[in-house]
């Protein structure tokens, strides 16, 4: 009984740690969706770019960890803003499907650029932090989980304040509510969307860092599966809702960890997706999504 309890706690903690990575990625999805009303399929690949930026700056350039992380964040922020300006901005008034396909094109582009530069081999991710695991009796919390949980919690709280307290955050909420009215109030819609992409991509860089630390290996296609799962998480929590993305990501991680531990490793993805479908059939707008009534 005690054994079961400890394994339960251990799996819960690893689930929370993976889930908070998903939450970071899902935040990027959901913010972009809420503000630009588009599904940014290339978001998953920004994670890969961020992780590679860390690898290059630590392994090849020999920079210290903190600077490597800052470089990764800067690279991803610039990349996100540039992608938005070149590929998505001309399509501001186009059909959502056209934007979706363009985003898929950008995703292919990033993957194949990485493939050309780094080849198809998997790179091992440098161990940036050395932190001792903490033991509570039989419960072990790895140092890596502690850092992941700590940093993501701080980021989420900061993001919450940023969205709700600052002027730019207010502008972002206004644009997501009504683009036209926001523009009439003197808000620059283009700049607000750029800021959203910058924040989303910065978060993706951090997510890429933790993803690399957790799984140890990075390749050109690494970003796509966590990207899809984070997308699922964002929908799970109600797409467009920031607390929803956090909740969705963490729940997804915990469900995945439990189903890997107690049901089947191979079927864990199927179980995660199955629960998503179940939730959406009961709550068609996600856990925290707003139900919008159609007007005639």
């Amino acid at each position: 009984m005690m054994n079961f309890f400890t394994s339960l706690i251990n799996n819960l903690i690893s689930g929370l740690s993976v889930g908070s990575i998903y939450a970071l990625i899902a935040l990027g999805y959901t913010m972009v969706y809420g503000i630009a009303k588009m599904l940014n399929f290339a978001h998953g690949d920004i994670i890969m770019v961020g992780a590679f930026a860390v690898i290059v700056s630590v392994s090849s350039l020999g920079l210290p960890s903190i600077i490597a992380i800052l470089i990764a964040v800067a690279v991803c922020v610039v990349l996100g803003v540039v992608i938005e300006a070149i590929a998505y901005r001309p399509l501001r008034n186009a059909s959502p499907l056209a934007v979706l396909i363009t985003a898929i094109g950008v995703s292919y582009l990033l993957q194949n650029l990485a493939l050309l530069i780094f080849g198809s081999t998997q790179y091992s991710f440098p161990r940036l932090f050395q932190m001792e695991a903490i033991h509570f009796g039989q419960i072990t919390i790895s140092g890596q989980s502690i850092i992941t949980l700590l940093v993501t919690t701080i980021i989420m709280i900061a993001l919450h304040f940023f969205i709700n307290q600052t002027k730019i955050g207010k502008a972002m909420r206004a644009v997501s509510e009504d683009k036209g009215a926001a523009e009439l109030m003197g808000i620059s819609v283009n700049r607000t969307i750029s800021v959203t992409f910058a924040i989303g991509s910065g978060l993706a860089a951090i997510a890429g860092l933790f993803y690399g630390l957790t799984y140890g290996f990075i390749g050109p296609y690494t970003g796509s599966m966590p990207g899809i799962k984070a997308f699922v998480a964002a929908v799970f929590g109600g797409i467009g809702s920031i607390p929803g993305a956090m909740l969705g990501g963490i729940l997804l991680g915990v469900i995945e960890s439990f189903s890997k531990a107690y049901i089947s490793t191979e079927l864990s993805d199927a179980i995660v997706f199955g629960i998503l479908i179940l939730v959406l059939t009961i709550r068609p707008f996600g856990l925290l999504g707003k139900k919008t009534n159609e007007k005639v």
Partner: protein
């Protein structure tokens, strides 16, 4: 006048297919097609079937679904398993293969009913993500089953697919789908796309028609899967991931939503494009991605309308005529 009729409306599509088929047939009879080129024929046909059937969902019903590859894989496994069993019972190809195709299609259709009833309550992006999730579930379940060959894949399917059979299947599909689209039912489906609430108020059973479209599209995806399974010596579930669904969606959107002719042409172009770039080696997928982005931006952005006009021969001819007529008008005055 009668010849002109062959190149307008629905006949245009049939004529295009027949001409394309005849060209390919003559070329291959004369031995002018390289082995590489002829190995592309069946994939092109399969992509045409997939794109036209997905277009029914995306273009005519207006629902974004990302699980088309899932239905394709279910159909492929159903059809291939039946084919293996029938081959063991020494049933000749001409009976075996059509039965396998219909069976594969029906399996996919059955799955789509089971999936569709809960899923079609959802709309828009939620529907997209749930169909994507279903595709992924189907894939991981198939990998974990024994009779499907698991992750190693299903071996021993007779390789019955060839482009002539594929062409016949495409013609049958086009005949059925064009009749569906141009019938009362087709108009109901497009009415739902244009305004669901108004369609409902006019007495159209929205749930019924959404499910009908979903099932018909899944049936043909299943048939395409059977053709696919009979084209290669090994069938692995890994090929049918969401990337495959997205690839089909790219074909549909590039061809133009709700345009069957567009889907056919775009399926041909998109299948050949990465192969045509084979000369540039490692850069081919990169070029493909860049071409995709540029085509989407130029096609959909309001900043590039002038470029589209510039490239559109009809627009140029009309402009020329207008200028000439204006000149004539001045002279007459």
């Amino acid at each position: 006048m009668k010849i002109k009729k062959l190149f307008t409306g629905n006949f245009k599509i049939y004529s295009f297919m027949v001409i394309a088929f005849l060209v390919v047939f003559v070329l291959s009879q004369m031995g002018l097609l390289s082995r590489h080129a002829s190995s592309l024929l069946v994939p092109i046909c399969i992509n045409i079937i997939l794109a036209v059937s997905l277009n029914l969902n995306v273009g005519f019903l207006g629902e974004l679904t990302l699980g088309h590859a899932g239905f394709m894989s279910v159909g492929a496994y159903g059809g291939c398993l039946l084919s293996i069993a029938l081959e063991a019972a020494a049933v000749p190809v001409l009976i075996r293969f059509p039965i396998a195709m219909i069976f594969g299609g029906l399996v996919a259709a059955a799955f789509s009913v089971v999936i569709g009833i809960p899923v079609l309550r959802l709309k828009g992006d939620y529907l997209a993500i749930v169909t994507l999730a279903f595709g992924e579930i189907i894939r991981s379940v198939i990998i974990n089953l024994n009779f499907t060959g698991g992750a190693a894949g299903l071996k021993g399917t007779p390789q019955d697919s060839n482009y002539i059979i594929c062409f016949v299947v495409i013609m049958i599909m086009l005949f059925l789908l064009l009749h569906l689209v141009n019938s009362k039912h087709g108009r109901a489906i497009t009415a739902i796309r244009d305004n669901r609430i108004a369609a409902e108020a006019c007495g159209i059973n929205v749930t019924y028609y959404r499910l009908l479209t979903f099932v018909v599209a899944a049936f043909f995806a299943g048939v395409a899967g059977v053709l696919y399974g009979h084209n290669y010596s090994i069938l692995t579930a890994g090929t049918f991931d969401y990337n495959k669904s997205i690839e089909i969606l790219v074909i549909v959107v590039l061809g133009g939503m709700g345009s069957i002719m567009g889907s056919i042409i775009s399926a041909i172009v998109i299948t050949i494009l990465p192969e045509a770039f084979r000369a540039v080696g490692d850069y081919r997928m990169l070029i493909y991605a860049i071409v995709l982005i540029i085509v989407m931006i130029v096609n959909a952005s309001d900043r590039f309308i002038w470029l589209k006009d510039l490239l559109n021969p009809k627009y140029q001819i009309n402009r020329f005529r207008n200028q000439r007529n204006a000149k004539k008008g001045k002279e007459a005055l």
